[in-house]
């Protein structure tokens, strides 16, 4: 990896942008957005440290705006720049400041301190559950659907789906009104008489009530849990591995080499982000994004991103991926991508499947009832990340796959590329009908070396598949896992 080449490329790009800003007629000159997307790409592959990228952008902005202190209008904002604005723009990007040490007693926000759980009591435990239990709590009724149980060093939780009804509003509320979910009216006991509360995962989004923490965390070797809805008999959840609902044993897994360079892997993730960010069921000719849309801004920087990755020596000039990206842009009506490589017909099968979906003129009729399939299958480690599949859910016309990703996670640095560096994997599902669905990170709860992630399937499932093949791709390898599904439906 050529870090100096990476920084040099970004600085030369800023120079070209600077020159363009001095020549208003230079319509195709790079601008701050280009510097941002290229800087994000270089930091995403580790070729440039984020502070340097931020400094280059900040200095570029200072250089451009200081030249417009007395002009009629700033070309970027359409407004004149005051000296106070010049002074205040950007944020300080000083280096070398040690990060403040965590205050005593302060941990990572997240799962909390395991109660009686003893470290080293055993390996992580993932158990498919597949139990639906009706409940009635005052004026609120519904169903709690336990998809799976996951216990790791950070605690224990159920991955669940909720169906909530209220007399005032006879609609499914699980996504929009999670405050109605009566977590605290459920009681949970284990085989040793230990009692637990169900808790909404702290730190996670209230609109994501799929992670239910057991508080305190139970010991790692309990055999079952009795979960009792308010005023109803308890339902027993067996936690022994290899139980009647275990999916690990039925999972067929194969691993193949991928040997992608860091640049190729990033381009694949960007391509798949484009694929999953395309509006649903557009009319033919309506795929094109407006020039200022994030999708078009990212696509407009592809030529520079590819050149920057080559300069950083993380992408070979002979790589086939840029040509695939060019085809993808053409198929999605994304113009001005600047990719020098000619398009190719050699696209991965999942991309072709999703492109075919986008070319449809009308929505496909759905035969899919709202329901879920319990899962608990851990995939072989990919690039240091271990992914466990914990449930597939289809509600309100949307399909999601719940996973737990364990492994080192980079510090979150959102950027214009809109890719999730906590989950740097290409993730696809092929259902028994043969169609591919991209799995795109939708929500994430991160803490202590693991991330609970909700992956939204694009497009959503349209019929209850008997099985799915999960294809997870990292830089080093690709994993394929075939899992049988047993769907349970909401009432």
């Amino acid at each position: 990896m050529d870090r100096e080449g990476a920084e040099t490329y970004l600085r030369l790009l800023a120079e070209a942008a600077m020159r363009g800003s001095l020549t208003p007629a230079a319509a195709r000159a790079p601008n701050a957005s280009t510097i941002m997307v290229v800087g994000h790409a270089l930091t995403a592959v580790g070729a440039l440290d984020p502070v340097t990228a931020e400094e280059i952008l900040a200095d570029f902005r200072l250089a451009v705006t200081v030249r417009h202190l007395h002009s009629e209008a700033d070309p970027g904002t359409g407004q004149a720049v005051t000296v106070a604005q010049w002074l205040a723009q950007g944020r300080p990007v000083l280096r070398g400041k040690p990060r403040p040490a965590p205050a005593p007693g302060e941990g990572t926000p997240g799962e909390g301190t395991p109660g009686n759980a003893t470290p080293g009591e055993g390996a992580d435990r993932f158990v498919p559950v597949g139990l639906t239990m009706p409940f009635l709590a005052g004026a609120v009724s519904g169903e709690l659907c336990l998809m799976s149980f996951a216990q790791t060093g950070t605690g224990a939780r159920f991955i669940a789906a909720w169906q909530v009804h209220s007399p005032a509003l006879e609609v499914q509320l699980s996504h929009h009104y999670p405050g109605l979910i009566p977590f605290d009216e459920f009681t949970v006991t284990d085989d040793r008489g230990g009692r637990y509360k169900l808790d909404h995962t702290p730190g996670s989004d209230l609109a994501w009530p799929n992670m239910i923490r057991l508080n305190p965390a139970p010991p790692g070797n309990i055999r079952w849990l009795d979960v009792a809805p308010p005023y109803r008999p308890a339902v027993r959840v067996a936690l022994s591995r290899g139980g009647p609902h275990s999916s690990d044993d039925e999972t067929q897994v194969s691993v193949s080499d991928a040997a992608l360079s860091a640049g190729e892997h990033l381009l694949v993730m960007l391509a798949e982000r484009l694929l999953t960010g395309t509006p649903e069921f557009p009319r033919r000719g309506m795929l094109a994004a407006p020039p200022t849309s994030p999708r078009q801004v990212v696509a407009g920087g592809f030529g520079d991103i590819i050149a920057a990755l080559e300069a950083a020596d993380v992408l070979s000039p002979l790589s086939p991926v840029p040509a695939r990206l060019a085809t993808l842009c053409a198929s999605l009506d994304l113009t001005g991508h600047g990719i020098a490589a000619p398009p190719t017909l050699d696209l991965p099968e999942p991309w072709l499947s999703l492109l075919a979906h986008y070319q449809r003129r009308k929505p496909e009729p759905t035969q899919m009832r709202e329901g879920y399939a319990a899962l608990a299958a851990t995939l072989p480690e990919l690039d240091g990340i271990r992914v466990t599949l914990l449930g597939l859910q289809h509600t309100q016309g949307s399909s999601v796959l719940h996973v737990l990703a364990q492994g080192p996670a980079p510090e979150p640095r959102p950027g214009p590329l809109d890719i999730d560096l906590n989950f740097p994997l290409s993730f696809w599902l092929r259902e028994s009908g043969g169609r591919w669905h991209a799995a795109r990170p939708d929500r994430c709860h991160q803490g202590d070396g693991e991330s609970a992630i909700r992956l939204r399937l694009v497009p959503p499932l349209t019929r209850p598949a008997d099985w799915v093949e999960v294809q997870a791709g990292g830089r080093s390898a690709k994993v394929r896992a075939t899992l049988p599904l047993r769907w349970r439906y909401l009432s």
Binding site: E4, E7, T8, L10, R11, L12, A14, E15, A16, M18, R19, L22, A29, T52, D59, F60, L62, A63, V66, R67, L69, H70, T82, V83, A84, W86, L87, A88, R91, P92, V93, L94, R95, G96, K97, P100, P102, A103, P104, G105, E106
Partner: protein
């Protein structure tokens, strides 16, 4: 190409001077032989000590301090002018306004108005540390920007001389990392490329985006200039040392008598001996350059003729 045998990098630059509002009057600030001189502040060292002890400094003194602080600051290369047509005009009113804005505070995390019903003590402690760190960083960033604004307000002549000073400070030390341990080559190469591209446009009429510039290590000769390809594939490939920025560009010698000056053989003012190219790919020839005074509207920028 270093200070020997041609003398210091600024030998081909005449002095320049400007008036700066200072106290109740206007004081002359003069650049001469690589240094700032404050005629109205005879005992500059004593005044600097006074400022260091917390006393209020005169603006001239603050400028002299800022000049010293940024005499090797690579940021100067990115902020300063790229060529004659790239005027960076900052007035002393701008500097005053910036100073007032900086004293008014640059905002901070508080403006988002985080509010917790019962914030945990640990989180509060961490937030306080972060806030303090942010304030320190914001203060340093503001100071740096105020410095830059003051230095730019000195005018074009001082701006190009500071660029020359910064380039000269690093030109022989390409392999030495900066204070953060990072290579200085990318910033120097970008600074060189941005300026060579505009000179090449004037020289050959080539699109500046078709000029590719690489940084030559010190001691590797004057470099090379070659033209390749046609149409959109046309490229001017230029390889020059970082010294070119100081000894040639900052001294106003880059394009002299329709020649691209690639090196200075004998520095001097108002006469210098330069190595120059009539066309890309040609062998450089030794030419005598003579300073012909300032062109209209380009005060303090030397103009040379063959």
């Amino acid at each position: 190409m270093t200070g020997v045998p041609n003398g210091p990098w600024f030998t081909s630059l005449p002095p320049c001077e400007t008036l700066v509002p200072c106290g109740q009057g206007q004081h002359a600030v003069r650049w001469e032989a690589g240094e700032l001189r404050l005629a109205s502040h005879a005992d500059l060292e004593a005044e600097l000590v006074l400022v260091a002890l917390g006393g209020e400094g005169a603006r001239c003194v603050e400028i002299a301090e800022a000049w010293l602080r940024h005499a090797a600051d690579l940021t100067v290369l990115g902020l300063g002018p790229r060529g004659e047509a790239d005027e960076v005009a900052v007035s002393w009113d701008d500097v005053d306004a910036a100073g007032q804005a900086a004293r008014g505070g640059a905002g901070g995390p508080g403006r988002w108005g985080w509010k917790l019903a019962s914030p945990p003590r640990a989180a509060m402690a961490r937030a306080a540390i972060r806030h303090q760190q942010y304030q320190e960083e914001a203060g340093e960033a503001n100071q740096r920007r105020l410095d830059m604004l003051s230095l730019l307000a000195l005018g074009t002549g001082f701006q190009v001389r500071l660029i020359g000073q910064v380039a000269a400070a690093h030109a022989d030390r390409l392999d030495e990392p900066d204070e953060h341990g990072h290579s200085i080559r990318p910033a120097l190469q970008a600074a060189l490329a941005g300026r060579v591209a505009l000179v090449a446009e004037q020289w050959l009429g080539i699109d500046p985006d078709q000029v590719e510039v690489s940084l030559l290590p010190p001691g590797a000769g004057w470099g090379s200039v070659e033209l390749t390809g046609r149409g959109e594939q046309r490229r001017l490939l230029v390889s020059l040392p970082a010294w070119w920025l100081a000894r040639v560009w900052a001294c106003g010698l880059a394009l002299t008598g329709r020649h691209l000056v690639v090196a200075v053989e004998r520095a001097g003012w108002p006469d210098a001996q330069v190595l120059a190219l009539r066309a890309p790919g040609a062998e450089p020839v030794s030419l005598s350059a003579h300073a012909a005074g300032h062109p209209p509207g380009a005060a303090d920028t030397p103009h040379w003729e063959i």
